[in-house]
Amino acid sequence: MTSHLSSDQICRWLAGERGYEEQRHLRACPECRTDVEQFQNALAGFRNSLEQSPVPAASYSRTRQSLPRWILATAALAIMLAAPVYWNAHHQGEAKQSMTEQTETDDLLLERVNAGLSRTVPSSMEPLMQLMSKEEK
Protein backbone atom coordinates (compact mmCIF):
# COMPACT_ATOMS: atom_id res chain seq x y z
CA MET A 1 0.00 0.00 0.00
CA THR A 2 1.68 3.20 -1.16
CA SER A 3 -0.68 6.01 -0.04
CA HIS A 4 -1.96 6.60 3.47
CA LEU A 5 -4.90 8.55 4.75
CA SER A 6 -4.27 12.29 4.85
CA SER A 7 -4.57 14.30 8.05
CA ASP A 8 -7.81 15.80 6.67
CA GLN A 9 -9.25 12.33 6.04
CA ILE A 10 -8.38 11.25 9.59
CA CYS A 11 -10.02 14.40 11.00
CA ARG A 12 -13.14 13.81 8.90
CA TRP A 13 -13.21 10.21 10.09
CA LEU A 14 -13.06 11.25 13.74
CA ALA A 15 -15.64 13.97 13.11
CA GLY A 16 -18.13 11.32 12.05
CA GLU A 17 -17.74 11.43 8.25
CA ARG A 18 -17.03 7.71 7.83
CA GLY A 19 -16.71 6.89 4.15
CA TYR A 20 -16.41 3.36 2.84
CA GLU A 21 -12.94 3.96 1.30
CA GLU A 22 -11.47 5.23 4.58
CA GLN A 23 -13.00 2.34 6.48
CA ARG A 24 -11.53 -0.19 4.07
CA HIS A 25 -8.12 1.50 4.20
CA LEU A 26 -8.05 1.52 7.99
CA ARG A 27 -8.78 -2.19 8.08
CA ALA A 28 -5.89 -2.89 5.75
CA CYS A 29 -3.29 -0.32 6.90
CA PRO A 30 -1.79 -0.79 10.40
CA GLU A 31 0.13 2.49 10.12
CA CYS A 32 -2.99 4.62 9.56
CA ARG A 33 -4.86 2.62 12.18
CA THR A 34 -2.10 3.41 14.69
CA ASP A 35 -2.25 7.07 13.71
CA VAL A 36 -6.02 7.21 14.37
CA GLU A 37 -5.64 5.27 17.64
CA GLN A 38 -2.91 7.63 18.87
CA PHE A 39 -5.09 10.63 18.08
CA GLN A 40 -8.00 9.00 19.91
CA ASN A 41 -5.74 8.21 22.88
CA ALA A 42 -4.62 11.84 23.04
CA LEU A 43 -8.25 12.98 22.99
CA ALA A 44 -9.09 10.48 25.74
CA GLY A 45 -6.09 11.78 27.72
CA PHE A 46 -7.43 15.31 27.26
CA ARG A 47 -10.78 14.22 28.71
CA ASN A 48 -8.98 12.40 31.52
CA SER A 49 -6.94 15.51 32.35
CA LEU A 50 -10.14 17.53 32.62
CA GLU A 51 -11.69 14.94 34.90
CA GLN A 52 -8.68 15.21 37.24
CA SER A 53 -9.63 18.81 37.99
CA PRO A 54 -11.47 19.09 41.32
CA VAL A 55 -15.12 20.02 41.03
CA PRO A 56 -16.57 22.45 43.60
CA ALA A 57 -19.56 21.21 45.60
CA ALA A 58 -22.94 21.93 44.10
CA SER A 59 -24.18 25.23 45.52
CA TYR A 60 -27.83 25.48 46.33
CA SER A 61 -27.80 29.10 47.46
CA ARG A 62 -28.47 30.37 43.97
CA THR A 63 -30.31 27.39 42.59
CA ARG A 64 -32.91 27.35 45.35
CA GLN A 65 -34.68 30.30 46.93
CA SER A 66 -35.13 29.54 50.65
CA LEU A 67 -38.37 31.56 50.68
CA PRO A 68 -40.45 32.84 47.78
CA ARG A 69 -39.75 36.48 47.02
CA TRP A 70 -43.35 37.55 47.60
CA ILE A 71 -43.15 36.32 51.19
CA LEU A 72 -39.99 38.34 51.82
CA ALA A 73 -41.54 41.43 50.21
CA THR A 74 -44.72 41.08 52.29
CA ALA A 75 -42.68 40.69 55.50
CA ALA A 76 -40.63 43.80 54.69
CA LEU A 77 -43.81 45.79 53.97
CA ALA A 78 -45.40 44.62 57.25
CA ILE A 79 -42.32 45.75 59.21
CA MET A 80 -42.36 49.13 57.48
CA LEU A 81 -46.03 49.62 58.35
CA ALA A 82 -45.79 48.29 61.90
CA ALA A 83 -42.76 50.35 62.93
CA PRO A 84 -44.47 53.81 62.87
CA VAL A 85 -47.55 52.40 64.69
CA TYR A 86 -45.37 50.96 67.48
CA TRP A 87 -43.37 54.19 67.65
CA ASN A 88 -46.51 56.31 68.03
CA ALA A 89 -48.07 54.01 70.62
CA HIS A 90 -44.88 54.00 72.68
CA HIS A 91 -44.55 57.77 72.62
CA GLN A 92 -48.24 58.38 73.33
CA GLY A 93 -47.89 56.36 76.56
CA GLU A 94 -44.93 58.44 77.60
CA ALA A 95 -46.80 61.66 76.79
CA LYS A 96 -49.81 60.58 78.90
CA GLN A 97 -47.59 59.86 81.91
CA SER A 98 -45.85 63.19 81.48
CA MET A 99 -49.19 65.05 81.28
CA THR A 100 -50.45 63.43 84.53
CA GLU A 101 -47.30 64.47 86.38
CA GLN A 102 -47.63 68.03 85.05
CA THR A 103 -51.28 68.25 86.15
CA GLU A 104 -50.39 67.14 89.68
CA THR A 105 -47.66 69.79 89.89
CA ASP A 106 -50.05 72.46 88.63
CA ASP A 107 -52.71 71.49 91.21
CA LEU A 108 -50.22 71.73 94.07
CA LEU A 109 -49.05 75.13 92.90
CA LEU A 110 -52.67 76.34 92.58
CA GLU A 111 -53.43 75.23 96.13
CA ARG A 112 -50.48 77.21 97.44
CA VAL A 113 -51.58 80.29 95.49
CA ASN A 114 -55.14 80.01 96.84
CA ALA A 115 -53.84 79.60 100.36
CA GLY A 116 -51.72 82.71 99.90
CA LEU A 117 -54.66 84.71 98.57
CA SER A 118 -57.03 83.62 101.36
CA ARG A 119 -54.74 85.04 104.11
CA THR A 120 -55.93 88.34 105.59
CA VAL A 121 -52.45 89.32 106.74
CA PRO A 122 -49.03 88.31 105.51
CA SER A 123 -47.70 85.07 106.95
CA SER A 124 -45.01 86.96 108.98
CA MET A 125 -47.81 88.92 110.84
CA GLU A 126 -49.87 85.87 111.69
CA PRO A 127 -48.28 85.24 115.21
CA LEU A 128 -49.00 88.91 116.19
CA MET A 129 -52.59 88.64 115.01
CA GLN A 130 -53.04 85.47 117.09
CA LEU A 131 -51.80 87.35 120.27
CA MET A 132 -54.13 90.27 119.62
CA SER A 133 -57.12 88.00 119.27
CA LYS A 134 -56.26 86.32 122.65
CA GLU A 135 -56.05 89.72 124.44
CA GLU A 136 -59.45 90.73 123.04
CA LYS A 137 -60.95 87.58 124.52
Binding site: S7, L14, F39, F46, P56, T63
Partner: protein
Protein backbone atom coordinates in the same frame (compact mmCIF):
# COMPACT_ATOMS: atom_id res chain seq x y z
CA UNK B 1 -35.23 6.05 45.85
CA UNK B 2 -31.50 5.23 45.95
CA UNK B 3 -29.22 7.86 44.34
CA UNK B 4 -28.09 5.42 41.65
CA UNK B 5 -31.67 4.49 40.87
CA UNK B 6 -32.63 8.17 40.76
CA UNK B 7 -29.76 8.86 38.39
CA UNK B 8 -30.81 6.01 36.13
CA UNK B 9 -34.39 7.20 36.16
CA UNK B 10 -33.36 10.74 35.20
CA UNK B 11 -31.01 9.62 32.46
CA UNK B 12 -33.48 7.14 31.06
CA UNK B 13 -36.72 9.08 31.27
CA UNK B 14 -38.12 12.47 30.37
CA UNK B 15 -37.95 15.33 32.85
CA UNK B 16 -41.74 15.38 33.05
CA UNK B 17 -41.52 12.13 34.98
CA UNK B 18 -38.79 13.43 37.21
CA UNK B 19 -39.52 15.90 39.96
CA UNK B 20 -36.39 15.58 42.04
CA UNK B 21 -34.40 18.60 40.90
CA UNK B 22 -31.81 18.07 43.64
CA UNK B 23 -30.91 14.74 42.06
CA UNK B 24 -30.49 16.47 38.70
CA UNK B 25 -28.12 18.99 40.27
CA UNK B 26 -26.08 16.27 41.96
CA UNK B 27 -25.89 14.19 38.80
CA UNK B 28 -25.03 16.85 36.23
CA UNK B 29 -23.17 19.48 38.25
CA UNK B 30 -19.69 17.99 37.54
CA UNK B 31 -20.36 17.66 33.79
CA UNK B 32 -21.62 21.21 33.41
CA UNK B 33 -18.75 22.53 35.53
CA UNK B 34 -16.11 20.68 33.48
CA UNK B 35 -17.59 21.94 30.23
CA UNK B 36 -17.59 25.50 31.63
CA UNK B 37 -14.04 25.09 32.93
CA UNK B 38 -12.69 23.82 29.61
CA UNK B 39 -14.54 26.60 27.78
CA UNK B 40 -13.60 29.53 30.02
CA UNK B 41 -10.36 28.21 31.59
CA UNK B 42 -11.17 30.01 34.80
CA UNK B 43 -12.38 28.09 37.86
CA UNK B 44 -14.28 30.98 39.46
CA UNK B 45 -16.01 31.94 36.22
CA UNK B 46 -16.81 28.28 35.56
CA UNK B 47 -18.38 27.88 39.00
CA UNK B 48 -20.50 31.02 38.58
CA UNK B 49 -21.58 29.86 35.13
CA UNK B 50 -22.51 26.41 36.51
CA UNK B 51 -24.60 28.05 39.24
CA UNK B 52 -26.30 30.24 36.63
CA UNK B 53 -26.96 27.19 34.48
CA UNK B 54 -28.77 25.37 37.28
CA UNK B 55 -30.59 28.54 38.35
CA UNK B 56 -31.96 28.90 34.79
CA UNK B 57 -32.80 25.20 34.77
CA UNK B 58 -34.58 25.44 38.13
CA UNK B 59 -36.70 28.38 36.97
CA UNK B 60 -37.65 26.52 33.80
CA UNK B 61 -37.98 23.10 35.42
CA UNK B 62 -41.78 23.25 35.75
CA UNK B 63 -42.19 24.05 32.06
CA UNK B 64 -39.69 21.50 30.81
CA UNK B 65 -41.61 18.95 28.75
CA UNK B 66 -38.84 16.45 28.26
CA UNK B 67 -38.56 16.84 24.48
CA UNK B 68 -34.80 16.49 24.90
CA UNK B 69 -32.95 14.55 27.58
CA UNK B 70 -32.18 16.46 30.78
CA UNK B 71 -28.47 16.26 29.95
CA UNK B 72 -28.92 17.77 26.47
CA UNK B 73 -31.24 20.44 27.86
CA UNK B 74 -28.74 21.44 30.57
CA UNK B 75 -25.86 21.52 28.09
CA UNK B 76 -27.90 23.74 25.77
CA UNK B 77 -28.29 26.23 28.65
CA UNK B 78 -24.56 25.93 29.42
CA UNK B 79 -23.57 26.47 25.77
CA UNK B 80 -25.68 29.64 25.63
CA UNK B 81 -24.20 30.91 28.89
CA UNK B 82 -20.66 30.22 27.65
CA UNK B 83 -21.45 32.10 24.45
CA UNK B 84 -22.77 35.07 26.46
CA UNK B 85 -19.76 34.94 28.79
CA UNK B 86 -17.37 34.85 25.84
CA UNK B 87 -18.98 38.02 24.54
CA UNK B 88 -18.59 39.69 27.89
CA UNK B 89 -15.80 42.20 27.49
CA UNK B 90 -14.80 42.07 31.14
CA UNK B 91 -14.27 38.35 30.97
CA UNK B 92 -12.29 38.74 27.76
CA UNK B 93 -10.01 41.12 29.62
CA UNK B 94 -9.34 38.59 32.37
CA UNK B 95 -8.92 35.82 29.82
CA UNK B 96 -6.22 37.82 28.07
CA UNK B 97 -4.45 38.30 31.39
CA UNK B 98 -4.56 34.58 32.03
CA UNK B 99 -3.08 33.53 28.71
CA UNK B 100 -1.10 30.38 29.26
CA UNK B 101 -2.51 29.87 32.72
CA UNK B 102 -4.72 26.81 32.70
CA UNK B 103 -5.72 27.24 36.36
CA UNK B 104 -4.62 23.77 37.32
CA UNK B 105 -6.55 22.04 34.56
CA UNK B 106 -4.94 19.71 32.08
CA UNK B 107 -3.21 17.65 34.73
CA UNK B 108 -2.60 14.36 33.06
CA UNK B 109 -2.81 11.26 35.26
CA UNK B 110 0.10 8.95 34.45
CA UNK B 111 -0.74 5.74 32.60
CA UNK B 112 1.56 3.00 33.89
CA UNK B 113 1.04 0.84 30.78
CA UNK B 114 2.91 3.27 28.51
CA UNK B 115 6.66 3.47 28.04
CA UNK B 116 8.36 6.67 29.31
CA UNK B 117 8.79 7.86 25.70
CA UNK B 118 5.14 7.21 24.86
CA UNK B 119 4.12 8.86 28.13
CA UNK B 120 6.10 12.00 27.26
CA UNK B 121 4.66 12.08 23.74
CA UNK B 122 1.11 11.69 25.07
CA UNK B 123 1.69 14.44 27.63
CA UNK B 124 2.90 16.79 24.89
CA UNK B 125 -0.07 15.91 22.71
CA UNK B 126 -2.52 16.62 25.54
CA UNK B 127 -0.82 19.96 26.19
CA UNK B 128 -1.19 20.68 22.46
CA UNK B 129 -4.90 19.91 22.60
CA UNK B 130 -5.38 22.29 25.55
CA UNK B 131 -3.47 24.99 23.70
CA UNK B 132 -5.48 24.40 20.54
CA UNK B 133 -8.87 24.54 22.28
CA UNK B 134 -7.98 27.93 23.76
CA UNK B 135 -7.62 29.39 20.29
CA UNK B 136 -10.62 27.71 18.63
CA UNK B 137 -13.54 29.86 17.49
CA UNK B 138 -16.42 29.72 19.96
CA UNK B 139 -18.71 27.38 17.99
CA UNK B 140 -15.91 24.95 17.12
CA UNK B 141 -14.77 24.94 20.73
CA UNK B 142 -18.25 24.15 22.08
CA UNK B 143 -18.78 21.34 19.59
CA UNK B 144 -15.30 19.92 20.24
CA UNK B 145 -15.73 20.00 24.04
CA UNK B 146 -19.21 18.51 23.94
CA UNK B 147 -17.86 15.65 21.79
CA UNK B 148 -14.48 14.95 23.38
CA UNK B 149 -14.82 16.30 26.93
CA UNK B 150 -18.45 15.40 27.59
CA UNK B 151 -18.67 12.45 25.15
CA UNK B 152 -21.99 13.52 23.64
CA UNK B 153 -23.16 11.98 20.38
CA UNK B 154 -23.41 14.09 17.22
CA UNK B 155 -27.20 14.14 17.53
CA UNK B 156 -27.03 15.27 21.16
CA UNK B 157 -24.57 18.02 20.21
CA UNK B 158 -26.92 19.12 17.43
CA UNK B 159 -29.76 19.36 19.98
CA UNK B 160 -27.59 21.21 22.51
CA UNK B 161 -26.23 23.75 20.03
CA UNK B 162 -29.19 24.17 17.70
CA UNK B 163 -27.05 23.14 14.73
CA UNK B 164 -27.84 20.47 12.16
CA UNK B 165 -25.95 17.21 12.44
CA UNK B 166 -24.01 18.03 9.27
CA UNK B 167 -23.04 21.44 10.64
CA UNK B 168 -21.84 19.74 13.82
CA UNK B 169 -19.62 17.45 11.73
CA UNK B 170 -18.17 20.41 9.84
CA UNK B 171 -17.36 22.32 13.05
CA UNK B 172 -15.93 19.19 14.59
CA UNK B 173 -13.76 18.48 11.55
CA UNK B 174 -12.36 22.04 11.57
CA UNK B 175 -11.70 21.86 15.30
CA UNK B 176 -9.94 18.50 14.94
CA UNK B 177 -7.79 19.87 12.12
CA UNK B 178 -6.64 22.77 14.33
CA UNK B 179 -6.04 20.45 17.28
CA UNK B 180 -4.05 18.04 15.14
CA UNK B 181 -1.94 20.92 13.83
CA UNK B 182 -1.10 21.88 17.44
CA UNK B 183 -0.10 18.28 18.06
CA UNK B 184 2.36 18.54 15.18
CA UNK B 185 0.36 16.12 13.03
CA UNK B 186 -0.95 18.25 10.18
CA UNK B 187 0.87 16.54 7.32
Amino acid sequence: MEPAATATAIMGSSAAETTDFDAVVQLYWPRVFRFALASLRDRDAAEVLTQDCFLHAYKAWEGFRGEASVHTWLMRIAVNLVRDASRNRRLQFWKRLRTGDSEGIGVYARDGRLSPEAETLLREQIAGIWKATASLPERQKSVFLLRFADEMTLLEIAAATGLSENAVKVHLYRALRSVRAHMGRSE
